[in-house]
Amino acid sequence: MSTNPTLALLILLFPALGGLVLAGRGWRLPRVFTVIIGPGVVWASFVCVLALFFGGAQGDYTYWTWIKSGSFEVPFNILIDNLSIFMGLVITGVGGLIITYAVGYMEHEDDASYARFFCYMDIFVLSMLLLVLAGNFIFLIVGWALVGLSSYLLIGFWYQRRSAVVAARKAFVMNVIGDVGMILGTFTLFANFHATTFASVFKALPRADNGAVELAAFLLLVGAIAKSAQLPLHTWLPDAMEGPTPVSALIHAATMVTAGVYLVGRMHPIYDVAVYAHGAVAIVGAVTALFAATIAIVQVDIKRVLAYSTMSQIGYMFLAVGIGAYSAGFFHLLSHAFFKALLFMAAGNVIHAMKDEQDMRKFGGLWGQMRPTSITFLIGSLSLVGVFPLVGFFSKEQILGAAFAKPDDAAVQLLWFIGFVTALITGFYTGRMWWLSFWGKPSPQRPVEHPHEAPPVMLVPVAILAMLATLGGFIQTRALGFGPSVVSDFLDKVVTPQRWEESGVAVGLGVLTMLLGAGLFWYARSLRPWSARLPWAQRLLEHKYYFDEIYDAAFVRPLDWLAGFFQRDVEVPVIDGAVVDTGLITQWTSQRGASLQTGYFRNYVLVFVVGAVIIAVVLLARAFS
């Protein structure tokens, strides 16, 4: 076997090995092994991806036939192209930084939990890599379901907390809804093309029935929506913040939740044919972006603000891939991975120093006391707002520019407007978060008077991400209309290239958006008790548009009632009753039957003889009749 297929396989094998070792022996080994193995295997994978990246590897490597049954054939194949290498770099690179950071963040756990945490993290990285390296739909589904599982395990990491367990269960159920969509979509494709590999399905697309492709695209979109926490399957993501902060950074910001964007990008031949489903992707993205941004305005938990902003930013990515600007969407995925992981980890530093307090109203005044964390958080915040020259500016404005400049499509301009308003709201809520947490006087309710800055193992990854968020934008300055566009050039070899150029007006509007967003960021400082003016709006937003309440009333409570009904009126009287009655009847008949058993020999003989006589009489009677 030549080098590249081996490297591709090694990418998966390293985290698998790490997960296995930590699962099997981790809790018995000294902590130093966990510290080496946990992040080490991810970095080893990162090196493999880098080697493939610099080696310019391309190919669909088939190792062996995994399943063969009639016309159904699943090869064990890994797809290495620019898109999967790009995703692999994000997952292992940002993932490696976050898992290294977790070495410091999780230090208060006992040895067994510590090993368990890194075991889950390695399994997550394995699942996510499997998802993006899969060359057929079966592997895609396996990876897709496994990231859901590891997300469940990590959200419920502190399983002694009831809220964490409930949140984990909610996330899992929501994810399974998406998994079902994915599986049904795959069935639809298989029923039409009799193929499971991406390559053969895409090759067969031109002669396919359009309706079937639309159906498959919509079903796959259900999976993407659930995984990426878009409307209306978004309610699990804010609750998922019950997990440890590195989990939020890695899974619920940088990688897993962007799997939906990856899916649409990977399936771009399908979405290029299925125009309605493709339009739905953009609409869902734009609406979610605005929807989540408005909720973020009133949240007081710092991680929940970040969670809603994640939903909002992924909405941008969906908008981009939905209008056909795939590489813009993936550039935003990259930049979002940088600055959102940075924000989560910096927030983690604060939470760590504040003895697990997450309410921003109880922070305040950290600028003077936790200077490095404050600076990195500011960089992340400004990148999120999209301030020049941070990476968020280039990626977000490229999406908005692409939406504005898309020709011959008035509806896309409406989506641009939604994105524009969202960008302004983003400036506002990010400003509120930053000023509230770090500026001003320390809150009197603050749990720690003199917080300690985080240890180097937690600061260095944050600093690296801060540098990436500062300088990363210059690899692609398409938002300004000139300069390099490394990411787009790299990815356009795989995905459908954007067919139009951003106009000068779009660039101007991008700069305007940035200025307005930054202005609102500044404005948020002087506007502490702002919300009392619109009490009904505040109530609406604090209840997150009553989505949880609606789902509770529409699904949870009817199901609870149904379960109660079946338990009370079916399980106990019918099923349970049948079992108990069978026992009672047996008991009753055996008691009656036992009295025949006298124990006297002559009784038995008498019965026997009488029986023999009766039989003899019957036989004789028949013989003579």
Partner: protein
């Protein structure tokens, strides 16, 4: 009615069958009314031999050797049955002195 030749004399077959029936009823009544386990066993033997007599009678009457073969077969079974039955009895007598089978009623329901 056919007759059977016994030692040069002709005898009606129904006499043999009648003797067989009487022996069988004697055995059956013995099993039912006697209490000594040993006597019960002997009564069972009596019933078996009554059946053997009937088998041999029919065999002669119908000029068919199978009946006699079957009689031999049932003698073998009777021997085996006697062995097993006596062994059980000996074992019971070893544990305790039983004069009446009604004493052995531990398996009452």
């Amino acid at each position: 009615m056919s007759t059977l030749s016994i030692g040069g004399q002709q005898l009606d077959a129904s006499w043999f069958l009648l003797l067989s029936a009487i022996l069988f009823v004697l055995g059956a009544v013995g099993v039912l009314v006697r209490r000594n386990p040993l006597v019960i066993l002997i009564s069972i033997e009596l019933m078996l031999n009554a059946a053997n007599l009937a088998l041999v009678t029919f065999s002669r009457q119908l000029q068919n050797i199978e009946g006699q073969l079957f009689a031999l077969m049932s003698m073998t079974v009777a021997a085996a049955e006697a062995v097993v039955g006596l062994a059980i009895l000996v074992d019971i007598f070893r544990a305790r002195d039983v004069e009446d089978v009604d004493d052995l009623s531990e398996l009452r329901g």
